[in-house]
């Protein structure tokens, strides 16, 4: 269940609630080895993207963030891109 407001916001475009990609595919464990998937959740600078950008549910956002951190430790993902 998305936690977006249902009514139209005062300004900007109306919100659409979109289910979290991991919930949609019934993922029980976000694997740190799947770095190509995790790449979708980091910015081009290598930073973890915010939940409002990734559209993940709170639980999967947390799991994705720790998976990204594990992947960084094993040099599968960079800590910083371009210095």
């Amino acid at each position: 269940m998305g936690r977006r407001r249902n009514g139209p916001p005062r300004g900007g475009r109306p919100t659409k609630s979109k289910p979290c990609v991991f919930c949609k595919e019934n993922v029980a464990y976000v694997d740190y080895k799947d770095y190509n998937l995790l790449r979708r959740f980091v910015s081009d600078r290598g930073k973890v993207r915010a939940r409002r950008v990734t559209g993940l549910c709170p639980q999967h956002q947390r799991e994705a963030a720790s998976a990204i951190k594990r992947a960084r430790e094993m040099a599968l993902l960079p800590y910083v891109v371009g210095r």
Binding site: A28, Y29, D31, Y32, K33, D34, Y35, N36, R70, R72, E73, M74, A75, L76, L77, P78, Y79
Partner: protein
Amino acid sequence: MTGEADTRPEEANIDTYEAMLIVIPELDEEQVENTVGRFRTIIERTGGEAGEPNHWGRRKLAYEIDHRTDGFYVVMEFTAGERTLVELKRILRVSDDVLRHMVVKLPPSYAHKPLPEPAEVTA
């Protein structure tokens, strides 16, 4: 109550672990196998059960580690005996041919997924 994903119900309370190693690129394939074999014997000697190692091959690192830009990635699943984890981690830490290692506990429901194909292979 055994989970439907358990293959061995009588051992359902035994945790499965997964180790990932980055072996230095100076070795050749055969030496990498020997290195991994050494860790498998450690696991088995301490009462664990080592699965087949999965060699990802030589891969570029996302950043430099000890002035090295690539390394051999090996992933291995195992079950641990009483002393396995302490002993394995100790030896991994002092091994000069292992750049980095990580041991994680796998969730019991985790099914073996196909691993990402070894991309970005260099020379």
